[in-house]
């Protein structure tokens, strides 16, 4: 038996990418081998795109809108350049680079295009989703939307959704006349359709469907749902995996039903209009969220633009409530994640634009989940009160057969200096790899000393230090997969790694926070990732009765905490953040007896906060709430704070439709039962929303068939 190979630290100056997220940097450099393997498996499709986003800026003001000249019967008719609304989409440049097979070329393009104002994102899209010849001229026709019969400016509200796997043609999103309440749907990894010559494309990549087109497809399919899915490109088995809308349960369909679903014969639902964006499936598959950035930013921009199309069609600003049931575990916090900053800027731009169009003002807001990582053992923290060195030591258990990289983010105060990181492989003495001092802009790579392997393929970890995000410094640790089909490639050993970080803290606010990024396999995807966790012997998992302990003990030991597990995209002050609760127990049992919040629902650490909790499970035994399955006429159970968010969105949309202009948080707080959160404030905010009257019993797994 041979001894474990040794490990050595090396500087990696050739692989610095200011402006590129560290996960993306890893994927682009030493992680590319593994993604090349993925490519062969067909799981990531054709990963071919690097995109650059100019740091978000406000769109310029424009002229008054002109009346629509388009017929709703020809929604796909070319939009003439004259009808363009004068808005510019976010400044995004597509830099096609064969990332999977030629990272060097992608790197060259990034370096050639780099400016201080640009950020870069990998955008894994199949070639068929991309316009030939780079970024198309993009823009929407003015007021291309004509209200369907029965839809009035009074009482209309737009529910936006950014999700994956949304069956936009589901009967729950149809209207009594056989039309679609989904007025616009952008499928980001749909097949790109070039605009007519001389006109602009409504979307920079992927496919947009409009309400009349969806309605026509439904009519043409004549009840054959297979034919409908084919017509809308929702399922196509001639393409590689994944095919999330081929499964009985799909995330986006379920969530959108809870937010805006209704019986198709319900005339009251007619004024709830829907604008949806389906993220590429691979973005969901990369559960770290690292591929989400630009796709989400462009998705929200699209929803707000189309909300302006609808507003223009109705002659007045229409309220928008956006559902975004996604969570990440790390992030700079304090509302500083690039996605969070873009949300605020896009909403501000939306308001300015509506005013400039002479349409007045209407509330526009987004709701996000608190996250499901309360018990994931993925967050650790330590703090000090005075200047001096502070160390956070983390027993990091990395699972065998993990075919995706594992990532840890460590966040330090802006004034932290003298950063040293130790990363010790399982079974090695602490001195075997040693610690390494980390400087900004000089990543360190850990090589496995395996003489038979090409040295370029022996990198099993990458460390970097950056201050890209405002207010804090980040140390990022990427660890190679522990299993792979890549030949001639070093793999990280599985087992208990020891990760430690020491830095000199400033006089105040000395703190080190660590988050493991999500790394598991979402339902409906081929199993690849396995989640690592902090295996701290001092962490108490169970209470005295043997039940899961879902709040931190009064005097917790060790460094692993539940408090601080809030979704990293939910940290902007005032953001609507929705936790989950077991609504049967909440309804039927007193707080002292029941376990009201769902045990997985994250615990916020002040100043972060949860706005409110909504039903995410029936009870301890009956997990999940019932809503639409993928196909029309089917209903399935799904749980998580993902399904709580749309129930809050439904209440907000209802209030906005009646002209309520108060804060979303106040509207939700007023709808809670039991007056307050009864000690669960960090997980349920102002309290517990009961099941929505339209959904009561409908979502309950107890009362099926009753």
């Amino acid at each position: 038996m041979s001894a474990l190979p040794g490990f050595e630290w090396h500087e990696d100056p050739d692989h610095t990418f200011p402006g590129l997220d560290p996960v993306n940097a890893w994927l682009l450099t030493h992680g590319a081998d593994f993604h090349a393997v993925t490519l062969a498996e067909g799981a990531l499709g054709d990963l071919t795109l690097v995109a650059a986003l100019e740091k978000p800026r406000l769109p310029r003001g424009g002229a008054d809108p002109a009346p629509s000249s388009e017929s709703p019967e020809s929604p796909e008719s070319p939009e003439s350049p004259e009808s363009d609304d004068g808005e510019e989409p976010p400044a995004v440049t597509l830099l096609p680079g064969d990332v999977a097979q030629n990272p060097a070329e992608a790197r060259r393009r990034i370096q050639a295009n780099r400016t201080a104002e640009r950020r870069f994102f990998l955008m894994p899209l199949p070639e068929r989703s991309l316009p030939a010849g780079g970024t198309p001229a993009q823009g929407f026709g003015r007021a291309a939307w004509t209200p369907p019969a029965g839809v009035s400016a009074e009482g209309t509200v737009i529910v936006g959704i950014v999700d994956h796997a949304i069956n936009v043609a589901h009967e729950r999103f149809r209207d009594p006349a056989g039309g679609s309440r989904v007025d616009y749907a952008w499928v980001q990894d749909g097949t790109y359709r070039p605009p007519a010559p001389g006109s602009r494309s409504a979307v920079p990549y992927g496919r947009e469907w409009t309400g009349p087109t969806i309605a026509r497809a439904i009519r043409d399919a004549d009840g054959d749902e297979d034919a409908l899915f084919e017509a809308l490109g929702l399922v196509d088995f001639t393409r590689p995996s994944p095919h999330p809308l081929a499964f009985r349960t799909s995330h986006g369909t379920h969530v959108l039903d809870l937010a805006a679903g209704a019986r198709p014969d319900d005339p009251a639902a007619l004024n709830t209009r829907i604008v949806s964006v389906t993220l590429p499936a691979v973005v969901t598959q990369e559960t770290s969220g690292a591929l989400l950035g630009l796709f989400f930013i462009q998705a929200l921009d699209y929803i707000l633009r189309r909300a302006r199309s609808i507003s223009a069609g109705l002659g007045r600003a229409v309220p928008v409530v956006v559902n975004f049931s996604f969570a990440i575990s790390g992030g700079p916090r304090g509302g500083n994640h690039v996605i969070e900053r873009c949300i605020d800027r896009l909403f501000a731009a939306h308001a300015a634009r509506l005013a400039a169009m002479g349409l007045g003002a209407a509330p526009a807001e987004i709701a996000v989940p608190s996250g499901n990582r309360n018990l994931a053992r993925g967050h650790a923290t330590t703090a000090c009160d005075a200047a001096g060195p502070l160390t956070l030591t983390l027993p990091w258990r990395v699972q065998p057969d993990d075919r995706t990289a594992s990532y840890v983010e460590l966040w330090l105060p802006e004034g932290a200096t003298d950063v040293t990181v130790g990363l010790h492989a399982p079974g090695t003495e602490a001195a075997a790899a040693g610690s390494v001092a980390l400087a900004e802009g000089v990543p360190q790579i850990l090589r496995s000393a395996e003489p038979d392997i090409d040295p370029a393929k022996t990198v099993i970890a990458r460390l970097s230090l950056d201050s890209e995000e405002p207010g804090r410094k980040r140390v990022f640790v990427a660890l190679a997969p522990t299993a792979s089909r890549a030949e001639g490639r070093s793999l990280a050993p599985s087992g208990l790694w020891q990760l430690s970080l020491t830095a000199r803290m400033p006089a105040t606010g000395g703190r080190i926070d660590a988050w493991i990024l999500r790394d598991d396999t979402p339902p409906g995807f081929p199993a690849r990732g396995r989640q690592s966790y902090f295996d701290d012997p001092a962490y108490e998992r169970f209470d005295g009765a043997g039940d899961l302990l879902d709040t931190d003990p009064a005097a917790p030991g060790g460094v692993v905490r539940r408090a601080g597990t809030l979704n990293g995209l939910a940290t902007s002050p005032g953001r609507i953040v929705v936790g989950g609760h077991r609504f049967r127990e909440q309804r039927d049992r007193p707080a002292c007896e029941g376990t009201w919040p769902a045990p997985y629902a994250a615990t916020a650490r002040a100043p972060e906060a949860v706005t409110v909790a909504a039903p995410s499970d029936s009870s301890r035994v009956f997990g999940g709430v019932i809503a639409a399955g993928t196909r029309s006429g089917t209903r399935v159970a799904m749980n998580g704070t993902s399904v709580a968010v749309p129930q809050a969105v439904r209440r907000l949309a209802e209030a906005r439709a009646t002209g309520e202009t108060g804060s979303g948080a106040a509207i939700l707080a007023a709808a809670t039962a039991h007056g307050g959160a009864h000690g669960y404030e960090a997980r349920a905010g102002a309290g517990f929303l009961p099941a929505h009257p339209d959904l009561t019993d409908g979502i309950d797994r107890f009362s099926r068939g009753g």
Binding site: A221, D224, D226, A227, T238, P242, G524
Partner: protein, 409 residues
């Protein structure tokens, strides 16, 4: 006869009674023999000699012998039952279902024939098989018989199968979602139509009988075609397909499950809703058939091409069987399946059936379109082509889906 001899006879009878112990032992042996007979019945399989079960019971046989001795008395003349008309379908009601099935299978199978063929031309050279209907007219000393073309099936090219193979690979994603269906559909599709129709072994037993006959006939034609076209299964082309069930030993195209499922869907639809007014019924039957076909692709034992071939064949056979059963079709549209050039086209039910009718399908579009499924050359079905025994079963089954008639006293 003296009193003594009478007494002696009585004694003799007593002696015989004494011997009954030995006879009893023989009876036990007889019972063993009867068990052997039951074994033979078992070998006859599902032909259902169960109805005669009592007759094969050795103990019962002995009992029946002694019972007859006890009551038979001297010979008497009795009127009995009127003789049966020969060559009459009306007699079908008298035969056990097991016997009817043999008769009916022959009614179908004896009137079809197959001929090997080869397709050439720009789409490539591939083996083909042609299927004929044997039109028989009465004649002396032998009937006159002539083959009429009905079906032609041409094998896809190797390039087509390789393109299809990737689709099979892609479908493997759905195995966890579909595993229970795939496993429960192994024996056949009937349970998945029965739950749409409320088929019941008692109340709709002739429908069940007709369905079994249809499946058997579909399997017969499918196996001939599989044998002729000799298509390799997906797992023989790639070590990564790794089907989740055993790959059957016969060829891939056409899919037997697709052939049987679509045949049943179309046949049951026509039986139950001959006026074609119940669109949701047809829609459910066809959607179920398509799902059964696709489940075999998910399992990794078939290509979508096999579903195309099987579905179009099953639908054609349903028309054929209904016509032969006298269900009111003067002609049956023929079928030409030409798999050459199918490429990676995926299957769905709507490609081969819509608006209550079989449908042609072409791969690609415009000038590049290649006809894959063609509905052509109408096969005439005349009075001589209608099978009276089959018609008997069809009518019986059809009545099971109609409101019962009032029985007059």
């Amino acid at each position: 006869m003296s009193i003594a001899s009478i007494t002696s006879a009585a004694q003799g009878a007593q002696g015989a009674q004494g011997a009954q112990g030995a006879q009893g032992a023989q009876g036990a042996q007889g019972a063993q023999g009867a068990q052997g007979a039951q074994g033979a019945q078992g070998a006859q399989g599902a032909q259902g000699a169960q109805g005669a079960g009592g007759g094969a019971d050795g103990m019962l046989a002995v009992a029946l012998i002694t019972a007859r001795d006890g009551i038979v008395g001297p010979w008497q003349s009795a009127p009995g039952m009127a003789p049966l008309t020969g060559n009459s379908a009306a007699n079908m009601v008298r035969w056990p279902a097991s016997v009817r099935r043999i008769v009916l299978q022959n009614e179908l199978v004896s009137r079809i024939g197959f001929a090997p063929a080869e397709a050439g031309g720009p789409r490539g050279t591939e083996p083909a098989i042609r299927m004929f209907h044997l039109a028989v007219a009465p004649g002396t000393p032998v009937p006159t018989a002539v083959y009429r073309p009905f079906v032609e099936m041409i094998r896809p090219t190797t390039a087509d199968f390789e393109a299809q193979l990737q689709v099979v690979h892609n479908y493997a994603d759905l195995r966890p979602d579909r595993a229970s269906e795939i496993l429960k559909q192994l024996p056949g599709p009937m349970a998945f139509f029965a739950n749409i129709l409320t088929v019941d072994g008692e109340r709709t037993r002739h429908t069940v009988e007709l369905s079994i006959l249809a499946q058997t006939f579909a399997a017969h034609v499918a196996q001939q075609t599989k044998h002729a076209l000799a298509c390799l299964r997906p797992d023989m082309r790639s070590p990564q397909i790794q089907p989740m069930i055993d790959t059957p030993g016969h060829g891939a195209l056409p899919s037997g499950h697709a052939t049987e499922a679509f045949m049943l869907a179309a046949l049951l639809g026509r039986l139950i809703d001959p006026a074609r007014e119940n669109a949701p019924l047809w829609q459910m039957l066809m959607a179920q058939a398509a799902r059964i076909a696709t489940n075999r692709v998910v399992a990794g034992v078939h290509y979508p091409a096999d579903s195309f071939a099987g579905a179009s064949l099953g639908l054609a056979l349903a028309d054929y069987m209904a016509a032969r059963a006298g269900a009111g079709l003067d002609t049956v549209s023929g079928l030409r399946f030409d798999g050459r050039g199918l490429g990676n086209t995926d299957f769905r039910g709507g490609h081969v059936f819509a608006q209550f009718a079989r449908k042609a399908f072409a791969a690609g579009s415009g000038s590049d379109a290649l006809a894959i499924v063609e509905i052509d050359t109408a096969l005439p079905i005349g009075a001589d082509d209608i099978s009276k025994p089959l018609q008997w079963l069809w009518n019986r089954a059809a009545k099971e889906w109609q409101a019962p008639e009032e029985e007059t006293a």
